[in-house]
Symmetry: C2
Subunit: 191 residues, 2 copies
Amino acid sequence: MDNLINKIKSHIDLSSKAEEYVVSIAKELMVSKGDVLIRQGQVVKNTYFVKDGCLRAYCIDKNGKEHTLQFAIKNWWISDFIAIYNNELSTLTIECIADSKIIGFNAKLLDGIYSKFPEFEAFQRKNLERHVVSLHKRILNQLQLTAQERYELFLNQYPDIEQYAPNYHIASYLGITQQSLSRIRVENSKK
Amino acid sequence: MDNLINKIKSHIDLSSKAEEYVVSIAKELMVSKGDVLIRQGQVVKNTYFVKDGCLRAYCIDKNGKEHTLQFAIKNWWISDFIAIYNNELSTLTIECIADSKIIGFNAKLLDGIYSKFPEFEAFQRKNLERHVVSLHKRILNQLQLTAQERYELFLNQYPDIEQYAPNYHIASYLGITQQSLSRIRVENSKK
DNA sequence: AGAAAAAATAACCCTATGGTAAGAAAACTA
DNA sequence: TAGTTTTCTTACCATAGGGTTATTTTTTCT
């Protein structure tokens, strides 16, 4: 729990009451590789904060192919934000890809925190701003970089994810097949 | 100005003082097709709200190719949010692609509005949530749809943009060349 | 450790999209 | 409205990446 509280405190002054409240709605969980926390098509109840380990958010398209929207490692948040913010059923599946320690928050309770403790507003606004920036960058990278360049960037930006995610997960994040990624890796290893 | 004030009022209760403040920092502008409001590599001072017309945000890659991150029409916001939120120089160019009426806001003044009038916090949080949702959807679409499907979706989602944007802008938004888009259009017209 | 399952690589050919260049059409501009 | 510029289309070949299947390597499980 300290991870999260410290992370919050590094951005805002957290009153002890607010801290108590956060702790009161948090559920610490140990989850195992392969566990599915949110399943495509179901109601999304929770948002998760990763203390340790790795989770993945992906969708399955009409041909059964998986496409990874997000990985989440230590100190990242993950959920189906499309479903939560639009109040819809999940289009994503959230899956543990390594044994992980996570903190689950009921999305509705979490959403109520802003009226109870307005100091969270600015915190969340900054979080969302950073999130928007990273998404804008990802879109621009997808538009202008080759698969090879995107892979190199991915390894530089998220070196820790490689240890958890098999190559076909990474390929599905980069928008290529695992065979193409394998080819790229072979090319890179020749240099 | 009413557009914007009404839009805000449809989401939050706006005190008359807050409304006055918004008006006091807003600059109404008439801009012409071809005008560049933000230029790649420069300091980003403003965020723009479009009252009428159409603007476009794009970057130019190392080979000189343009990639469109965003179009903005009536009632949309546009700027280089990567630069503003990260306090960096612009990586994007913001250009008018039709004669437009817009409202310019100094980004720093706008950022100060939340401490002056906290009722804007929830408003902006919701805006950012919607923005995140649309970006998540765009990334998922880019991963799982063909160019043809992305073009159809684009026409359905943003039918108004077609009247302003030449095809090569749309192609650069979809992540294909204008030649490929032309081919797709020919195929579609055969049906 | 040995068996079974999962993941990665390889080799094949295929297809969607890219690059270049030229001509046609449309949109400005004087 | 004629001339100029921009945009769109077409056609050519080139290539990055996809689909399929088989094989090898690695990981997991008992």
